[in-house]
Structures are given as C-alpha cells and as structure tokens.
C-alpha cells in the first residue's frame, strides 16, 4: 500500500463567526485507525462531520482515493457519487444507534438494506449475509426478524456496526461508538471493533473523549482544543509522553481503578 486513502488539507469550518475547527491537516492510510480526542466543544465532531461529507467546510479540502484510484474532493462529487460513497465505501457509526439504524424495520432488513444499495437483489443471499453479520457482532440468529426497538443499547450498537460493515467499506467514521454504554458492554464492543478493524484492514476515524478507547483502538491520535489540533502522533507516545499542557492535563485526569 503505497498511497493514503484520505488526505485532509487546511480544513476549516466556521459557524458564522464562531470557529468549529481550523487548519486541520493529516493523511489516513489503509488499515490505519486515527483517534480524535478532546473535550466537549473542542471541535472534534465538527471535524468528523466535515470529513464525512455531512458538513461542508468553510475552506480547505478533503480528498479521497476512490475505488477506481482517482483522487476526488468529496465536496465536488455529484449527489449520486456522494450517496454511493456514503452507502457502500464508507461507514458511519453514530453514538446513538437510533441515528444510524431504522428502528421500525427488522434487524435483518437493517443489514440487508446496505447490501441492496450496492445492487444485491437476491433475497436468499441477502438474508444469509445478514445472518452471518449478526453472528459476527454476536446477535443471536433468532433475533433477525425483530426490530431494533426491542434491542438493548449494546445490541443496537452492534447492529449498527454490522449494518455499516456489511458492504466492505474501506473507511469508517465513528462518533463516540461506546458512549452511553455500560462498561462491561463497552469492553465487549471495543473488543469486537478491534477484531473487525484488524481482520478487515479497515481505515477508521474514531472521535472519542475516552482515552482508554483511543489507546485500545487507534494507531495514531490527534488532540483537539478550541477547534485546533494541538498535538498529534503515535497513540502510545501521545498518551505516555504528552508534550502540550492540555494533553498532560487530559492524561493526568484519567481515574485509575
């Protein structure tokens, strides 16, 4: 793999005169997991949304290497191209599973819908693949016809992950994927994510305020404060040898058990 998958240049987003994030630059390579950490209001979700074609930046560019090897600015794609990207080559795991799932259709249909978006029309094949993916995220096969409304928070989150990964995306965005879950459920989800990301060679960008999540999942991390990246590097180095005052504060604020 000799080329990055994503290239971000001077990305800046203002909400009117208020700064969302500014001058963000980085490259993401296939198989690489990048964590974006920082406290609430630091601009990390703004950045994630600007990267994932959901929030147009005020200036700067986000270039993505498409499956045909062409580099494209994601805000210059046609609506059809953008939709195709979002439905197949990308995944987006929301903090609240209800934002990423359709709560009133069955679990199987939630997974199958993404397959139909890439043109799979064979009912038997779709159901079989959905079953396989439910198994991979540890949801019992006999729940396939149930609606996610009847699922626990942890199950919903696992279903959302299955729905996103079924099309074999190359890049997955995650916004606080374990936020709001019990710690035991978090551990299970993290282990599952870590396994899947490694197994599938996914590139991922994970927004989290939880440094333990960042350590477990990511190779590299960026620390954000007041809309800017103040420190970046290898995850274990940023956590074990933080340079910036704010990063030192974050790391020293972790509660030990």
């Amino acid at each position: 793999m000799t080329e990055p998958l994503l290239r971000v240049e001077n990305l800046t987003k203002y909400y009117g005169s208020r700064l969302g994030c500014a001058d963000v630059n980085f490259e993401l390579w296939p198989g690489e997991v990048l964590a974006i950490v920082g406290e609430s209001g630091s601009g990390k979700t703004t950045l994630l949304n600007s990267l994932s074609a959901t929030l147009e930046p005020s200036s700067g560019r986000t270039l993505y290497r498409m499956r045909d090897e062409q580099w494209r600015n994601i805000y210059e794609l046609s609506e059809a191209e953008r939709r195709f990207l979002v439905r197949t080559d990308w995944g987006f795991v929301h903090q609240n599973p209800a934002d990423g799932l359709r709560m009133t259709v069955s679990a199987g249909a939630n997974v199958g819908e993404r397959l139909m978006a890439v043109g799979d029309r064979h009912y038997g094949h779709i159901r079989e693949t959905a079953l396989d993916w439910l198994g991979r995220v540890e949801i019992a096969a006999d729940r396939i016809d149930d609606q996610p409304r009847s699922f626990s928070g942890g199950m919903r989150q696992r279903l959302q992950i299955a729905r996103n990964l079924v099309t074999g995306p190359r890049l997955v965005f995650m916004d606080e994927p374990t936020g709001g879950l019990d710690v035991s459920v978090q551990a299970r989800l993290l282990d599952l994510l870590r396994g899947l990301v490694g197994e599938l060679g996914l590139a991922a960008i994970v927004v989290t305020h939880d440094l333990a999540v960042a350590r477990l999942l990511s190779h590299r991390m960026m620390v954000m404060k007041d809309g800017r990246v103040i420190e970046a590097g290898l995850t274990d180095r940023v956590l074990d040898d933080p340079r910036e005052p704010y990063t030192q504060l974050l790391v020293s604020s972790i509660l030990q058990v």
Binding site: G198, R220, G233, D241, E244
Partner: protein
C-alpha cells in the same frame, strides 16, 4: 555492522501541571548493540534506564539525537520517524517486553501471545501453535491459555508478556525487567531463551535488576549514570 546505534540522545520532561518544571532525564546517550549481543543498562532507579528503553521503542519522544536501526535492509532513524514508520519498525524489526502487560478485555492469553505473528501475516493456527509452545515452555498452566490475562497473577502476566515478545524473530529485542516477578525455575527458562536469541543473532538491550540473571545474560553493561544531564546553574 551494528543492529542498534544510539547517538547523542537527550530527554527532558516538562511538567506543565507543575508550573512548567523541567526534569532533565538523560543527555548524550551513546552506545551500540551488535547482533548476537546482550547489552544491559545499569545504574540505580531513576537514572533513566526505562526512559532510554522507551525512547528506543518510540514510546517516548526524544529531544535530540538519533536511534538507528536496520529495517528492511535500510538504516532508519526511529527518533525522527513518522508514526507509520514506527509501527512498521515495531511489526518487523524491534520487539519489546514491557514490565507490565496491558490487557485487552476478552482476548485470551494465547491470542495475546500469537498476535505479533498474526499481524505479520502468519497463519493463525501456526501462530497459535508457536504461542502454545512458548507458554508451555514458560510453565504457564494450560487451563489459563484460553482466559484473558487480566485476572492472572503478576508472574503469570509477565510470562504471557515474555512469550509475546519472544514469539517473533525481530532482529532487535528490548527487555524491561523480564524476570522481576518470576521464580527460579522460570528465571532459568528466560535466561535460556535469551541465550537462544543471542545465538540466532538478535541484538538485545535490557534492564535486569536481578544480579544473578544480569551476570548470566549480559555481554556488556552500559552505565546510565554516565548520561546524567548536567544541570545548568
């Protein structure tokens, strides 16, 4: 040809939460490690031995100096390498047995040990077989292999850690007190494993507080107090 060359390395910590107090750790660190040699970092606690080891692994940043390693037939300076390069160095060229195991929930001891081979592309069943052999050699009871090591005793965790560090054939291996919580039998196993690594041409750099073990494995001792930074008046 040296396997690892550390040149003019310097490190300070700036504690911003303590009014920016600057703690000098080491300066002008210079030493080489040859293939087949075990160099031991000596000196009292607090002299900077672990910090040097962590810099050589890329876990700590450096303020100045170079850390030269052979990597895929080229010489790479880990001190200035980008994160991706550090990760491939760790995957293929430099291993590390840390003092404490950082456990991942739900991952079995066997998979923890096999992982460095799996990420290098070794077939999973073959990697697990090598892991079984190592854990058996280190006398870790077989009933523990399928359990996550979080609840293991200190000595059991350390043996998982040693097996994980020794499973690959990295040309450079860093050892941070690998025998600290082991009994005599298992210390002897580790000493034998280190001798085998040396015979295979691996360059080892380690910290051993246990004098008996140190005498058995060390070819040379580098006194870290020689690298004490001079405090500016």
């Amino acid at each position: 040809m040296t396997a690892l060359s550390v040149q003019n390395l310097a490190k300070t910590f700036t504690m911003h939460l303590r009014d920016g107090v600057v703690l000098p750790v080491v300066a002008n660190v210079n030493f080489d490690v040859l293939p087949g040699e075990c160099v031991v970092l000596g000196g009292p606690s607090g002299a900077g031995k672990s910090s040097i080891l962590k810099m050589v692994y890329g876990n700590y940043g450096v303020d100045a100096g170079a850390i030269l390693l052979q990597h895929h037939g080229e010489i790479v300076d880990l001190a200035i390498a980008d994160p991706r390069t550090v990760l491939t160095l760790r995957r293929d060229s430099i291993g590390y047995v840390s003092q404490f195991l950082r456990t991942v929930p739900r991952v079995s001891a066997l998979d923890v040990v096999a992982e460095p081979l799996v990420i290098r592309g070794t077939d999973k069943s073959e990697a697990q077989q090598r892991a079984r052999d190592l854990l058996a050699r280190l006398n870790l009871p077989e009933r523990l292999w399928s359990l996550p090591p979080a609840t293991f005793s200190g000595g059991e965790q350390q043996r998982v850690n040693i097996a994980r560090g020794f499973i690959t054939d990295h040309p450079v291996l860093l050892l941070d007190e690998p025998t600290a919580s082991l009994d005599a039998t298992n210390r002897a196993v580790v000493v034998a494993m280190i001798a085998e690594k040396k015979a295979a041409g691996v360059a080892l750099l380690g910290i051993f507080h246990d004098e008996e073990v140190r005498e058995q494995v060390a070819d040379r001792i580098v006194d870290v107090t020689d690298f004490a930074p001079r405090i500016a008046a």
